[in-house]
Symmetry: none
Subunit: 419 residues, 2 copies
Amino acid sequence: MAGEREAAALAAAIDEARLWQRHLDMARLGATPGGGVNRQAFSPADGEARRLLIRWAQELGLAASLDPIGNLFIRRPGREPQAEPVLTGSHLDSQPTGGKFDGAYGVLAGFEVLEAMQRCGMETRRPVELVVWSNEEGSRFQPACMGSVAFIGARPLAELLAARDWEGMTAGEALEAMLATLAEVPRRPLGFPVAAYLEAHIEQGPLLEAAGVPIGVVTGVQGLHRYLVEVVGEAAHAGTTPLRQRKDALKAAVSMIHALEGVMADATDTVRFTVGRFDVAPGSPNVVPSRVRFTIDLRHPEAEVLARLGGQIGPLCQAHARGCAVTVTRLSAVPPTRFHPRIVSLVRHWATALGLPHRELLSGAGHDAMHLAAVCPAGMIFVPCAGGISHNEAESARPADLAAGARVLAACLAELAAT
Amino acid sequence: MAGEREAAALAAAIDEARLWQRHLDMARLGATPGGGVNRQAFSPADGEARRLLIRWAQELGLAASLDPIGNLFIRRPGREPQAEPVLTGSHLDSQPTGGKFDGAYGVLAGFEVLEAMQRCGMETRRPVELVVWSNEEGSRFQPACMGSVAFIGARPLAELLAARDWEGMTAGEALEAMLATLAEVPRRPLGFPVAAYLEAHIEQGPLLEAAGVPIGVVTGVQGLHRYLVEVVGEAAHAGTTPLRQRKDALKAAVSMIHALEGVMADATDTVRFTVGRFDVAPGSPNVVPSRVRFTIDLRHPEAEVLARLGGQIGPLCQAHARGCAVTVTRLSAVPPTRFHPRIVSLVRHWATALGLPHRELLSGAGHDAMHLAAVCPAGMIFVPCAGGISHNEAESARPADLAAGARVLAACLAELAAT
């Protein structure tokens, strides 16, 4: 078993400047004029980012492999080749106007740990593998977290690869085109037993920055329900049709959302209730809208609260239909995730041992770690990002915070790989 | 002066079947799968509709011309070439999911009168001109009634042509593309003196059908204010950003519309308050909306009520801004119109003389006639449409009612052109 001293030495070997420089190098691939990145899943930029990582791995003498959904693995062997590996990583794909750190940080922090292990000549019992999960963002192909969903077998590979982007290309076609540029990389089958999974990520929220602490000990991921509400009324002339004779889909939708806001009101400000998409037809200033379709994104850490609030959406929308026909469809329901107590304790322990201020928090966003949690002990480490801003070209983080997170990650991985 | 007998003979020459067939032929251009038409202003379908009308005119030996805003004129000369012409017509552009009769009826009824005059060999003192006004609907380019507004000089041509559709194309660019397909049609300057203007139109409301009368003697048009409300908040992650820290442009807009509904409530159901367009950016289910733009269409027969209600929009939107920046722009303010007593009397006289049941009413919708009323004696004739439904693919009217309206139009135009 790796001693505390060996893990602490590894943490000390994390090189802040090298880690920062890798972020800058990686951000050149798919760079946007606004200072962010656009590396959508299975795009040429996604392929370039993977090639850069593979080149870095080769320079360290570490082998790469790819699975059938395009997940990329960099393996550092352990003393016992048959032992289940410890896995760390995140993703390199981004939103269309994404930032330099969302996903990339977890990959580069994991890579920094591998490099530190190499330089220290550390011997671990288990192999340590760095993974780049395919299509975490889900902005080009639905669902999000496609790589980890496929890895754990939650959905059939063929179904995932059949997803189409807005131009009609399937994920399978885009993946194949990208893999053609990575022909020399060995292939491996989909999925394998994992000893533990630990992912570093920027918080994408304001809490750590506000508290002035560099380390977030992530205890879980809140649950997420996604709904589509369709309201069908009757198009009519805005000048001639008396209001009482109308079936106005927009006014009905406004009543629904207004009423839903009342139901979602929450003194602790824990409920996340968002209407992000709201489409109106025919969408002409002098025509009473005949159809509105809007989405509801509802999140909460507790499954019971989600179920209770989600259960009120249908009846409330019906109650405010104002003569329109209403259909409420639940598109997805991801239950809250609780990360494994052993992993959470380990992160807390090492943040303390390394003298890094930390606080526990729950992830508001979904991550690959929540899927891995279904098949192995899993957890996450958060670091602050400026203003909590993410999914935005302005996304920013401080080199010292990134290094602090990588140090905790290094120590935890060393300990996980030793046992 | 044309005798009553000559005008009555012209009315009798109106051919119901021919008029109906022209509606069917015209409705093929821009036909929608739902049985309506989509002929938005300056679109290829708008150009095709004009070409069809020009071909019909050529078959009758009547000359066409186009002015700089694209208004199309078909001229039947009178005995005195210098006399100010009598003008009739309407528009051929439609809403995105419009019907076969809105606008097209006024054009085709006017054309039927010209054909009847040709076939009767009627000689008039004044020229009679049929006009197709450009962009009456205003669904693609604001303001509505762009052709008649330009014709009467109420707004500078350059300002009107600078209007952009939602894809960023200017009205000028779209018009130029359409005019390129009508290169052989002679051009004329914008605007000329008009002796009188009379426009036939479907009612677009339920009153005539409910009363069981074929002819509406239109005494005026209610006033119309049009507003654009822009709400600018801040994009944020739907999972991580606490609701109290958000500047959610959609929820602010919902609050505004909800509050406005309260202010617009009206026991007599006379106020017309419509939000027809509501655009959300970035429009992603898991991103808090950063911007909403919505339109308000507000109508009432009384100028004072319009002013009072319209004046409350700005303050009420500001009061419900919820941290967002709000801009309320009044796009247009058309005061209530009273049509010329001489034209109203003439329509009443000929409906009576032709034995056609009629009633007086006010137009709920805006029409080019209300702009013409500023520069010449003007009026309108309404005919019923099924269920009062308009701006809808289901819009429908009966051949006999369309012919009845055309007969009253014919007799009135004969008398106006004689004096």
